[in-house]
């Protein structure tokens, strides 16, 4: 019987195992040093805030794995020998495999800041990060978070839930402005302040200072301001967790290099999820996508390959979502922070400053390119179809009611949006409509 070994029990590795099991009786082992059972790491913040207990983040009951004959090994993999088709697990146990899948995810970026390894300094990615935060939180008056992105704002929300003062250092001119266009980014800036988070734009970290016990006690910004704090959150992005493969002969870039079949330079060794780096980027996508949904898709795709149906990784239309404190965000298709040459963007913002949509479309053909939506839920199926069928922006504007996914009785902003669209974009109409 084939032995498929998966390193990492995150969404990619676990999805892979589940889909293999649907089609095959192969022996499956999942190795992870992080946690006994699969959990949703995107939900760690809710555990800290007391919305859920840790076990609630585990989507499957503990006997699921035994029932499905999936072996879980709670250990660290130290080495991989591709030629011998074996791996070494801590304590020098050697394990043979027929197929190996690397799904080790990410680790938080550290850019060599002085003091970045002190006690009280952490990222927010692993279960261990949460345990550390928990230990430090009760003696913390102020925390400083470095890095203005999705994880940073989640960490800020978590700490505010425990009445800890938070200073949020964002290097850019506005929150997440590399991804969000100006309007949305400004809206989130305001919302951050509304939650009593001390947002410092265009400010970065220079140094973390230690007390006599090796704990962080303050930071110094690039403006030479010293801020006393007991926790420093480093949330300036993540990078692939592949250090243990450096000696293995598996080709690495920033992550594990894979082809479109998610295969590495060694036959029978694959990589999926956050740690996989595409040899050639797919469409407008980045070579490494540390996103929940792409991890899951890669798991499904590779499961087909490993059960006898070689399948290329061909993700469909881009989508993503997040929640900035109380404002939900969804995106479908591509909306760039700065519109590309051929693009025009339509933007509508509600007067309460908490709802907005932006639609990117082609200037000449008026083809719909993408949508950002804030505070209004939109239907994934609708936009997937619109993108597949290359519909125009006018079609989308006409069918906003169909696209809406808000609960019943919610106000519809359809008329308001349509009116604004006519104001902003009707002058742009071309013959192609």
């Amino acid at each position: 019987m084939k032995h498929i070994v998966i390193i990492g029990n995150g969404i990619s590795g676990v999805t892979l195992a589940r889909f293999i099991r649907k089609k095959s009786e192969a022996k499956i082992s999942i190795i992870s040093s992080e946690a006994n059972y699969f959990f949703s790491r995107t939900a760690l913040m809710y555990v800290f805030m007391g919305h859920m207990k840790f076990e609630h983040t585990q989507p499957y009951e503990n006997d699921f794995w035994e029932k499905n004959n999936i072996d879980l090994i709670h250990k660290t993999v130290t080495q991989v020998f591709p030629k011998e088709k074996s791996i070494v697990i801590e304590g020098n146990t050697v394990m043979k495999f027929d197929k190996l899948v690397i799904a080790t995810g990410s680790k938080s970026n550290k850019f060599g800041w002085p003091g970045q390894d002190l006690k009280g300094v952490t990222g927010l990615y692993h279960k261990q990060d949460l345990e550390n935060l928990e230990q430090w939180a009760s003696t913390t008056q102020r925390a400083v978070i470095v890095g203005g992105g999705l994880i940073g704002i989640e960490l800020a929300e978590m700490l505010r839930a425990r009445n800890i003062e938070v200073t949020f250092l964002v290097r850019e001119k506005s929150f997440w402005d590399g991804v969000l266009p100006f309007g949305e980014s400004q809206m989130i800036n305001r919302h951050i302040l509304e939650h009593h988070i001390d947002l410092r734009l265009e400010t970065s970290l220079k140094e973390i200072i230690s007390d006599e016990n090796g704990n962080a006690k303050a930071i110094i910004t690039d403006k030479d301001e010293t801020i006393e704090c007991q926790i420093v959150g480093l949330t300036a992005g993540v990078s692939p967790n592949v250090d243990f493969l450096k000696e293995s002969g598996i080709e690495l870039g920033r992550g594990v290099k894979v082809n479109r079949f998610l295969e590495t330079n060694h036959k029978d060794i694959y990589a999926i999820g956050d740690c996989a780096e595409q040899n050639e980027a797919i469409g407008e996508r980045r070579a490494i996508e540390a996103v929940w949904y792409t991890g899951r898709m890669m798991g499904e795709t590779l499961a087909q390959t490993l059960t006898g149906t070689p399948t290329e990784y061909k993700p469909g239309h881009w989508f993503n979502s997040a929640k900035f404190l109380d404002i939900e965000y969804q995106t479908y298709g591509w909306v760039w922070a700065k519109p590309k040459e051929n693009e025009t963007q339509f933007y509508w913002e509600h007067k309460d400053g908490k709802k907005a949509i932006r639609i990117a479309f082609d200037k000449t053909t008026r083809q719909f390119i993408g949508l950002n939506t804030f505070g209004i839920r939109m239907r994934h199926a609708f936009f997937d179809k619109v993108l597949s069928e290359s519909k125009t922006v006018d079609y989308v504007i006409d069918h906003l009611a169909e696209a809406n996914f808000d609960p019943e009785f919610y106000n519809s902003y359809k008329k308001e949006i349509q009116k604004e669209f006519t104001n902003q974009c009707v002058g742009l109409k071309t013959e192609s409509i």
Binding site: T42, M52, T139, E300, T311, G316, S321, K323, R379, F409
Partner: protein
Amino acid sequence: MSKSVKNISVASHENSTLDGLQKTGIAIGLLGLFIMALALLNVEFPNKEIWLTISIVSIFSGIILYANRTYLNSPEGIKNNHVWTSNLTHKGTIAWMVGLILTSFYVVLYWFPQYLGLNENGGTNTGIVGFFDPLSLILNGKPASQWFVYGTLYTIAILGLGYKFILKYRHNKYQLVRTISVMFFQLGFAFLIPEILEKLNPEKAYFAKDLKNMWPLNYYFFDEWHLKNMLDGGNLGLFMLIFGVALIFIISPILTYFYGKRWYCSWVCGCGGLAETAGDSFRHLSDNSVKAWKIERWMIHLVLVFSFVSTIAVIFTFLSNNPGMSFITKDQFVWGIVIFLGIFTSALYFFKRKEMDIDAVYTMLTLVAIMVLALLMNYFSGNQNIFFMDSYKMREWYGFAIGAAFSGVIGVGFYPIMGNRVWCRFGCPMAAVLGLQQRLFSKFRITTNGGQCISCGNCSTYCEMGIDVRAYAQKGENIVRSSCVGCGICAAVCPRGVLKLENDTPAGRINANEILLGNDVDLMDLINQK
């Protein structure tokens, strides 16, 4: 205040404390309850009217002050902070104390009302029942009974804590409308209207005047005394009888077809109303393990069968004992039931068997066969005791075990320990009937938003009915479950906007295929070929 580390377990919350205004709110509310507690302990108040008013007003003001301070202080949005660490909402000492007090109160209420001060021999009430006499006299013209006290407290709880619920979910219009609806039905239909109707018909014997409380939840609807009192109750009684029957067989199936059982369970029903308002703080305690689900399916259907059987029995007895009062004879009744069961189950079997689990089909067919057989044997043997049992003994046991012990003592008393929908999940025969209708003939479902689920688990954690919503959402499957009461909290707590309660065409409502959008279309086809 010491900041030393006392608890380093994942999720300790030493930094969360109440501020002065919140404490004041709690104090004022408790003061109101304290006055009632004194009355309970038989303290004789002079000017009961004034003290009763003070007590009720201070309970409301306390709740309003506390809720305003807690929720209006921060931006709108889901704030379940510290729910799993607070002593009250995570089965701590306070939760056990509240559970114990509530349970004891129910035990006394149902079985020892004399300890509440009820004078059953027509003399003057004392204790807390006496304390409520002034209000009862105003509303229904009679001194209070223990049920009047209970009804008033129940209404206060739904109104007060409904206000708190509204503030907590003020960004969510569905929750707002739904809560105003349960508050309205409790105050008007369950409390004021029945009391006032009682006052207008002082000479008539008692029958239930709560228009929305239908059989089988109202298990005594077809009892001999109740039928008699309705038949003797003039136009109002006849209206209640006809409306009650129409509600069961016509109005409720139609509404459930269009909106799912939520129109009743989380928009109208009093039990649901209390669960959604007073019970909201405990909704996450509902067990959502597979084991709990198995127990739930057995229990709720057994209760349904039991309630059905005992109802047939009491109607049969009524018809035997009162041939002059009824529209139909007992012969017609027996044959009517046999034909009804026959047609109903055959139709169900022919049109819907594919949508039911095979064990459910067998259980249903066996049960119906047994019932029909028993009815016919009874009929031909001329036995007066239908199903060979004394119908009143059976009804008595039903009333004791299900109507009192389950719905009251466990159903509400155990809120802080087992969650707020224990009764609805495991014991309510009405929920079972509506659930079957919802599962098999309804336009209602919860749809999932393509591939946006991150499996975080908020939906499953906050589902008061213990449904593992996430299991469906992460597969992209619609949620069609007979137990879902459509409270909409799963959609509210979802941080990615994945869930939506919808009424749409019945076609395509049950999609067993996994459709996670975002993936390549060919791959989805491949995955769906199971």
